[in-house]
Symmetry: C2
Subunit: 85 residues, 2 copies
């Protein structure tokens, strides 16, 4: 399933449940399985960066991590809090 | 084109040109086109975070930014420097 299709499928259909979302996908293509792993620490750092802009709790973040043969993929799905207009 | 296909297509075929790569895709699904834009500043912050782990110059980073109707997508493709084994 393509990246853009993912967004289209999960688009909210009701204004009442509509949320702004931030999705971050980090893929590390590795040549050496024994080389350094960046993603676990990167995940924490990036969460901190995002908190500079929007207050988010751990419960608002869905994390998926996949270890492939040649690369690792980390995916963060974040439901942004409602803003006052 | 799917996320994983992208990686398979661009996989290096020669060990001599093989590079470790880091790809970061950030998508911000927005409900309000007049709401805050995070991505330009997030890009700078995330680059700084990555530099904590690997020394990368601006030339090693390919940046693509797409503004859609409902969401913005920022894509960073980073060729990681060779490591000493």
């Amino acid at each position: 399933m393509g990246w853009f299709n993912y967004f289209k499928q999960s688009k909210p259909t009701s204004a009442k449940v509509a949320k702004e979302r931030l999705q971050i996908v980090i893929a590390h293509e590795r040549l050496d399985r024994n080389g350094p792993e960046y993603l676990p620490q990167l995940r924490r750092d990036i969460m901190e960066v995002i908190r500079k802009y929007v207050p988010i709790s751990d419960e608002q973040v869905n994390v998926q991590f996949e270890k492939g043969a040649d690369f690792d993929v980390l995916e963060l799905n974040i439901a942004l809090p409602d803003r006052d207009h």
